[in-house]
Each structure stands twice: as structure tokens, then as C-alpha cells.
């Protein structure tokens, strides 16, 4: 037999590879010995932080930058958290990572969807009567593209621990240890849906943004309610999974016993439970006791709001249990359970602070703060054990509490805000300052724990501003003749069903996105591709000329045409044609982001969501503080991952896919 022995050839190649590895090892080892800790405080505002530092209220930040650096950090366009964190992770703008907003749309149907991850379709299934058995599929898919910077570090032998990084669900799997953050769904598959129960017979059962209001049947001191899960995947005809609970209400005192599944707990009015298992029966057991399928189990926290005159109970969004490993939320799989073992079970949904419950007037500001405190404490309590177990390489740890609480509380410092009343908000003026003091305490703990050789970087994805005025892009497009509705007399209009697409040239979806209704791209597109650029320019000019009739100031200060102003990345087609940069103090209308067509272009922001950052990116920079000058300058989020890699003497980031740019 002639020719090469394939086994011997493989052995030789392996030996050569091992030799190369040995030769390269010193460089890798040097990188691996380095320690860099990055603390990400979502929404930390540079100007406000510096004011707090100047007032002596953040002494540990002062300590941090004593021999280091402090600078504003340019954010992404648009400055929204999933976009900004994806930019940080990949070192690329949205054209490179494919995340342009919280919400994207299917160009064919224009149906909006969450931008960072999507549930995968169930593949083939076998049907048996009313039941179906999936043979494949059914997971989640991360939509953020590009190479995360920790993958490059791991390839060079640097261990990385990446905790709660936004836009990283399902987890990348490339870090040594990671836990997913913003973008991780609750059991219903969204960003979090609470349930609110009341025995008030006049209370209307209804859906709110991020929540459901449901009845509680109260009779002789026994109140019964139902928790709703996702559709039962085992049934051909989809029906919601349900789990019943009972409240036994004491007739003399403001106290009740909650019974759900095997759990019983007495609650005083105004008291929160710990995490309680919520089980949904997917298939009834054979003969009543032989289990055929495991139940779907999540967990929720309950809050007995009041007992009299009506019984009111709040149930948090049902979270996946970190012990069960039902979702790909950590690397290795058991890491989430290990964390739970140390500090107890925790919110696994990406954005746990229930801003929607406050916005929907289900929780009062004080109750919301209590809930946010619970969520924030879980994250903070896990930090020190993680820091203690961190030996070398990179540790990234994300804190989201500051952002979500600032959204709801920042305007309590703004007496001129249209939603501000002394009665409702006056007592909460100090809340945001307290958030920054908490951040300062965390930085202090970190400085005490690390040695002199460790680089500590504190960064944020964007800043904050009071949001006083609202701009409805779809109302503006309609007013300016770019969007036509079928029935102008209809009260509530949406681009899903109410638009005459044969006479509509542009529409808005997402907080900052504006799309041209292009023929061949949109399902009912009418604008010829050759006319698209001229239309983009026309709309851009008009938007930049917009003056808010109440303030007399421009309401829009930047408008980006993504095709020309963004990098020519491979995912440009995913995003909008125009990204609107609202003037500081103005933001896009929330319902308009989901395609609603409001009656008025301009309105006062009267919601409890009183502050935001979805504005001109130059007006809301984030922060970059470090305990030593960084080896490589980072002026914006896009540069920061490269600068972190430079601390490990590694260059060549961002990683650009061949042929993509």
C-alpha cells in the first residue's frame, strides 16, 4: 500500500500544533495573568455622576480616578440599551451586530418583534388526538451578530466571567462563566408580564403594557385566582397553561394565607413573598397519578397589596428557575444554579425592575421602589461572591437597577416635568442620588478587594435626561402626507391593519426608527428603490426643521440615514432607513414604537416613565472611569472593547467577518 498513513499524518500535525502552542504560550500566559474588572452601570450619566462626585457624595469614585481617568463615553446611535451594549460587545455599530432598537419589524408583514432574541420554531411533531409531540426545535436564538470581545480573550487563553451582559441571551457559550442579562425572557417569552388580581367586581379584566389585570373570586373569605402561563406546547389547539391559587383572608386582621401548589404562606398586607414555585400541568397524569410529561415550572414573587376593602395581589412575571436549567441562561449550564446556591434564587428575566407595573398604576412609586430594591439587591448580593471567586482574566459585571429606576424616578428631581406633582414625586427626590451612592459603595468594595495590578473600569452605555415632550413619528408622517390611514374616523389606529399601504411611503416602528415603504422589500411597498434615497433626504430635512410648538425649540437635532451614516456592515438591511435623534428632553412615543398612529404629533409626557435616553446620542453620553489610564484610548462604546483587549496586550478587535465590510 502506497501513500501517506492518515493516522500518522494526523499525529504529526497534532505534534506540530502542540509545538506551536508551546512557542506561543509565553504571550498567551502574559495575557492570562492580567486582571481587568469591568463594572457596567446601565444608564449612569456622566454629568450627574460628576456633580455627585464634586459634592463629595461618591468618594469611592474619587478614589477610583485618583490615579486613573474619567471621561464621558460616547454612546451608540440610537442610544438604547440593547443597541449600546451590542456595540460595546462587538465593537461595531448596528450594521455590524444587527440590533437597531428594542423592536424590529418583519418587512413582509410589518409585525414587530423583540430585537435581541427570538423563539425558534418547533420542528417536526407527531400528533396523537388532541396532543402533539415535538421532535425538534423549540429553543431560543440570539439575534445579536458579531464576535463578542470575550471570545477573542478566551481564544488567547484569558479566562472571562461575564455576568448579566445585555443582548447576550441565549448565552454565547464562549466565556468561561457567563449569565445572561437584559433580553432574557420570562416564562411567557417577553421582557416580563406581571399579573394583578383584585376582588373588586367593577375592575375590568384587561391587558396593560407588560401586565394583566385579572379578577379574584372572593367568597366567604376565600379568594381564588389563576396564573396564566404560555400556550400549552402539547396541545394541537393552543390553549394557555394555567395554575390556580387561593387566598384565605382573615376576617379580623389585614392578613391572608396564600396557597399555590405545595406552598402556603401567611402574608400581611404590604408584604412580599420569597420566590414561590409555579407549576403548570402540561399533560394530565395517566389514571390521575402516573406522570406522562414533566410539568412546566417557573417561579414568582407575590405581593399582597391590600386585604380591605378589596383583596389585591400582585404577582411578578413568572421567571425561569435558575436551578432547573430550562433556559440557556448560563455557561456552564450549572453556573446559574451555583449562583442560586450561594445567594438564593433570583430574577432570571433580563429587566426585573417592574417599571410597567408603576406605569400602569398597579404599584405606587413606593411599592415600585420596594420591588426594585428586591431585584437590585439580588444582583448586588451575587456580586461579592463572584468577585471573591474571580482569580484572573476578565470579570464583567452588569448592574441594571440604576437605569430602570432612573427611568421612573429621575423626573422627581425635575419640578418642571409635566408629570411631576409634589404629592406623588416629592418624597422621591433623593432616589436617584441613592442609586449613585449604591454604585459608589460597589466601586468601594471592588477597590478594597482588588490588588494594585488589577485594572478597574467603570462604564455605562448611555446617560440620562428628563423626558418632558413626546413626539409621535407616525402621527407626524400622517400629518405630512407620508402615511395614509384607511378610516380617519377610527379612534385607535395602528400600522397593523389601519393603513392604506397603496398611499403610504413611510412608517415608524421602534423608538427611533423610521422605514421607507420600499417596493420589493416591504410586503406592500410602493416606493421604487431608485426613489428611496431622495425620499430619505426629503424626510430628513423636514424632521430636522421640526419645531416643538410648545417649547419653540427644535424637537429633533439629528437624523441618521443608516445606509450612508452607519458603517457598511452586513446587517444594515435589518434596521430602519432613518434613525431619529430627538432633542434632549424629547422622545419618541412608546405606543408609536409598536406601530400605533397617535392623534397628535406632540404631547406632554404625563406617564410615570419620566426620564429617558432615546434622544440625540451626543446629549446623553455614558461614563468611563478607571483606576489607571487605559493603554488604548476609548472615546465611545465602539472603542471600549478594543481598549479592554489592549489591557491584555491583544489587538485585532473588532473581528470583522470576511467579506462583510
Amino acid at each position: 500500500m502506497t501513500g501517506r498513513n492518515p493516522i500518522r499524518t494526523t499525529r504529526r500535525a497534532t505534534a506540530a500544533l502542540a509545538l506551536c502552542t508551546l512557542l506561543l504560550a509565553p504571550a498567551g500566559a502574559a495575557a492570562a495573568d492580567k486582571r481587568v474588572v469591568v463594572l457596567g452601570f446601565d444608564g449612569m450619566d456622566y454629568t450627574f455622576a460628576r456633580q455627585m462626585m464634586a459634592a463629595g457624595e461618591m468618594p469611592n469614585f474619587e478614589r477610583l480616578i485618583e490615579r486613573g481617568a474619567a471621561q464621558p463615553l460616547g454612546t451608540s446611535v440610537p442610544p438604547l440599551s440593547p443597541v449600546a451594549w451590542s456595540t460595546f460587545i462587538t465593537g461595531m455599530d448596528p450594521s455590524g451586530h444587527g440590533i437597531f432598537d428594542f423592536i424590529h419589524r418583519d418587512p413582509e408583514t410589518l409585525f414587530p418583534y423583540l430585537s435581541t432574541s427570538e423563539p425558534e420554531d418547533v420542528g417536526r411533531s407527531v400528533t396523537l388526538g388532541k396532543y402533539q409531540f415535538a421532535l425538534s426545535g423549540g429553543g431560543y436564538r440570539l439575534l445579536r451578530q458579531g464576535t463578542p470581545f470575550w471570545e477573542v480573550l478566551e481564544e488567547r487563553g484569558v479566562k472571562t466571567t461575564v455576568i448579566r451582559m445585555p443582548a447576550n441571551f441565549p448565552v454565547s457559550g464562549s466565556a468561561s462563566r457567563e449569565l445572561s442579562g437584559m433580553g432574557t425572557p420570562d416564562i411567557l417569552g417577553g421582557y416580563g408580564t406581571f399579573s394583578f388580581y383584585s376582588s373588586d367586581i367593577f375592575l375590568e379584566e384587561r391587558s396593560l403594557a407588560g401586565g394583566e389585570v385579572r379578577p379574584l373570586d372572593l367568597w366567604n373569605g376565600v379568594a381564588e385566582g389563576t396564573l396564566y402561563g404560555p400556550d400549552n406546547p402539547m396541545l394541537v389547539k393552543r390553549t394557555k397553561l394555567t395554575s390556580d391559587f387561593t387566598l384565605y383572608v382573615d376576617d379580623r386582621q389585614d392578613v391572608a394565607k396564600l396557597v399555590i401548589g405545595d406552598t402556603e404562606q401567611v402574608l400581611r398586607a404590604g408584604e412580599w413573598t420569597e420566590w414561590i414555585d409555579v407549576e403548570f400541568e402540561v399533560m394530565p397524569p395517566l389514571f390521575g397519578f402516573v406522570p406522562l410529561m414533566p410539568n412546566l415550572t417557573g417561579m414568582a414573587r407575590f405581593y399582597l397589596r391590600q386585604v380591605r376593602p378589596e383583596v389585591e395581589l400582585y404577582a411578578s412575571p413568572i421567571n425561569f428557575d435558575p436551578y432547573r436549567g430550562d433556559l440557556p441562561i448560563s455557561t456552564p449550564d450549572e453556573f446559574a444554579a451555583d449562583l442560586a446556591e450561594i445567594t438564593g434564587r433570583f430574577y432570571t428575566q433580563g429587566m426585573p425592575e417592574d417599571t410597567q407595573a408603576l406605569k400602569g398604576n398597579i404599584l405606587t412609586p413606593a411599592e415600585f421602589l420596594e420591588q426594585a430594591q428586591i431585584a437590585g439587591s439580588e444582583v448586588e448580593q451575587q456580586y461579592l461572591p463572584v468577585l471573591e471567586r474571580y482569580d484572573d482574566g476578565l470579570l464583567f459585571y452588569y448592574f441594571g437597577n440604576l437605569d430602570l429606576v432612573s427611568h421612573m424616578m429621575w423626573h422627581s428631581m425635575d419640578d418642571g416635568h409635566p408629570a411631576f406633582t409634589e404629592e406623588k414625586w416629592g418624597a422621591h427626590r433623593g432616589v436617584v442620588k441613592e442609586l449613585y451612592r449604591t454604585a459608589d459603595r460597589i466601586v468601594g468594595q471592588t477597590l478594597d478587594a482588588i490588588d494594585d495590578d488589577t485594572t478597574l473600569i467603570v462604564m455605562s452605555d448611555h446617560g440620562f435626561a428628563s423626558w418632558r415632550r413626546t413626539f409621535s413619528v407616525n402621527a407626524w408622517l400622517r400629518e405630512n402626507g407620508y402615511l395614509t390611514v384607511k378610516n380617519p374616523d377610527k379612534k385607535k389606529l395602528s400600522i397593523l391593519g389601519d393603513v392604506d399601504w397603496s398611499r403610504t411611503r413611510a412608517y415608524g416602528i421602534g423608538l427611533n426608527g423610521l422605514y421607507i415603504n420600499v417596493r420589493g422589500r416591504e410586503g406592500k411597498g410602493i416606493v421604487h428603490p431608485t426613489e428611496k434615497d431622495a425620499l430619505i433626504e426629503e424626510i430628513r430635512e423636514k424632521l430636522l426643521a421640526e419645531i416643538d410648538p410648545v417649547t419653540g425649540e427644535p424637537s429633533i437635532t439629528k437624523v441618521y440615514a443608516t445606509a450612508t451614516d452607519f458603517d457598511p456592515g452586513p446587517y444594515l438591511a435589518v434596521g430602519p432607513d432613518l434613525v431619529i435623534g430627538y432633542a434632549k428632553g424629547t422622545r419618541g412615543e412608546s405606543d408609536s414604537a409598536l406601530g400605533e398612529i397617535n392623534a397628535d404629533v406632540y404631547t406632554d409626557n404625563l406617564t410615570d416613565w419620566g426620564a429617558d435616553h432615546g434622544m440625540d446620542h451626543e446629549t446623553v453620553p455614558g461614563v468611563l472611569f478607571s483606576n489607571r489610564p487605559l493603554k488604548q484610548q476609548a472615546n465611545s462604546l465602539k472603542d471600549l472593547a478594543g481598549a479592554i483587549l489592549a489591557e491584555f496586550e491583544i489587538d485585532g478587535f473588532p473581528v470583522v467577518a470576511a467579506g462583510s465590510q
Partner: protein, 284 residues
């Protein structure tokens, strides 16, 4: 049954005292060995080894027959009939020792369940403590419910080391009064439950050691005492049906497998019995 349990409780407390500070698997292993040996001894004492052996050989012969004549349906059917007949005979020969084992071991296993089946409360734990009354509690206590919804005058006498985290919730439909109770300090605590003139004591263990823990103290009754022997029953004429709390269940580690102690116990008992049947000269 109450008298037997009254004797067994201190006996098992004593027997298991050396294992209190050890992982539960240590005691489970040793008791599996003892139970395996006792089971073999019972079989040896009460069964006929020749008949057991003959039945086993007949079953083996039937299996061999099927293997040898697997192309002859008539022989296979006959062999299957023979196997079933001799299998039944085999079970019949071992029925006496089996029944004796059940009668002897059930109360003993019930005792062990309340040592190894639950974990004690930990300091800082909050737990639901409830008292369920008999359907006719009003008659028994002479309460007329004249002031509206009938409500028993139940009171708790708490020792140091336990405190109430909530006022009571009275559920008339369940005849149940429930409190949220907090474990403040380690120890075997006794809570007094006073209803009218009668006071019943309920033990609550706040401990991380393997100790006797009783989730429920029940009304009098043979089954109750058979299955819940860890505390004496409540008096026959008590208006209280049960007093209880929920301890977390304890699993034991068996190599890389974490499971209920009874599964490990059964597996190990069978294993020890199989290993020791030769040396002990027992046919099973």
C-alpha cells in the same frame, strides 16, 4: 400502636444518637446492612429452602425450554405456563417471611423516616405553622359563634428561639388557623397550642443535625400512629385534628445520585442481602 411508638421513639433516638453529626448516608448504610441481615435471618427461620430452590429451578428450566425450543409454539406456551406457576409457588414459599418483614419493618421504617426524611429549620427560616380543628370543633369547645363568624380562641405559647412573623389567619372553611413563624435560635423547641382549657405541645426542630423531626402531630388513630409515629397523638376527644408545619425534605447523596433515603435504603438492603445470602446459608 401508641404504646409501641412510645417505646420505639426513645429507642431510635438512642440508636441514632451516634449518627446525629454525620451525613445521613452513614446511618442509612449501616441500618441497610442490619435490615438486610435481619431479613435474611427471617427468611432462613420461616421458609423452606428446598421448596424455594425447587421452584427456582423449575422457573430456570422453563426459561431454558423456551430458549431451546423457540421454534415450537406449543412448547413455548407450556413453558410460560410452567414459569408462571412456579413463580407463584416461589412467591408463596417466601410469603410468610415477606409478611413478617412488612409487619416488623413498617413501624421501624416509619421511625427512621422522621430522622432522615426531613431537614430541620435553619435560624432565620420562616415557616407556616397551622392548627386544623375537627369539623365539630364548636361542639367540642362549646363555642357558639355568637359574634358572627365562628372563630376559635386559639393561642400559641412560644418558647425563646421561635417568634411569630404574622398574626393568625383563620380559614372557617378549612377549620384552620395559620401563623407565619420564624426560627430565631437552634434547638428542639416546644410550642404550646392552647384551645380552651386544653394545651397541646408541638415540637419544632431548628437544627442542621440529623434528629427526629415531626411535621405533624395528629389526632388519635391506628393509621395516624403507624404512619406518623414521631410524636404522641392528640387526645381522642381533642377539638384539634392536627398541628403541623412543613420541614424541607432531605435527600441523601449516594455516590453521584441525590435521592430520597428510602430508595438508597432499599437498594442497599437488597444488595447486602444478595451478598450475605451465601455466607448466611439462606436460599432466596
Amino acid at each position: 400502636m401508641s404504646a409501641i411508638n412510645a417505646a420505639l421513639r426513645p429507642l431510635f433516638d438512642l440508636l441514632l444518637a451516634p449518627f446525629r453529626g454525620m451525613p445521613a448516608i452513614v446511618g442509612v448504610t449501616l441500618f441497610s446492612l442490619i435490615f438486610g441481615v435481619v431479613a435474611l435471618w427471617l427468611v432462613k427461620l420461616t421458609s423452606n429452602p428446598e421448596k424455594v430452590d425447587a421452584a427456582k429451578r423449575k422457573v430456570a428450566a422453563g426459561l431454558l425450554e423456551i430458549r431451546l425450543f423457540n421454534d415450537n409454539l406449543g412448547i413455548i406456551f407450556k413453558a410460560v405456563g410452567s414459569i408462571l406457576r412456579h413463580q407463584a409457588a416461589y412467591v408463596g414459599h417466601l410469603l410468610v417471611p415477606f409478611v413478617l418483614m412488612v409487619l416488623l419493618f413498617l413501624p421501624l421504617i416509619a421511625q427512621l423516616q422522621f430522622h432522615w426524611g426531613y431537614q430541620g429549620l435553619q435560624e432565620g427560616d420562616s415557616v407556616l405553622f397551622k392548627v386544623v380543628l375537627q369539623d365539630d370543633w364548636q361542639t367540642r369547645t362549646g363555642s357558639d359563634g355568637a359574634d358572627g363568624v365562628p372563630r376559635p380562641s386559639l393561642e400559641l405559647e412560644l418558647p425563646d428561639g421561635l417568634s411569630l412573623a404574622s398574626p393568625p389567619v383563620w380559614s372557617p372553611s378549612e377549620h384552620e388557623m395559620a401563623w407565619q413563624m420564624r426560627a430565631d435560635a437552634a434547638g428542639q423547641h416546644e410550642v404550646g397550642v392552647r384551645l380552651g382549657d386544653a394545651t397541646h405541645v408541638k415540637k419544632i426542630g431548628v437544627t442542621d443535625r440529623v434528629e427526629r423531626l415531626s411535621p405533624e402531630r395528629l389526632e388519635a388513630g391506628f393509621t395516624n400512629q403507624l404512619l406518623f409515629p414521631a410524636e404522641p397523638s392528640l387526645g381522642a376527644d381533642s377539638a384539634i385534628e392536627k398541628i403541623g408545619l412543613r420541614y424541607p425534605e432531605r435527600d441523601v447523596w449516594f455516590f453521584f445520585w441525590r435521592t430520597h433515603w428510602i430508595i438508597v435504603f432499599l437498594v442497599l438492603s437488597i444488595l447486602f442481602a444478595l451478598i450475605l445470602r451465601g455466607p448466611m446459608g439462606v436460599t432466596i
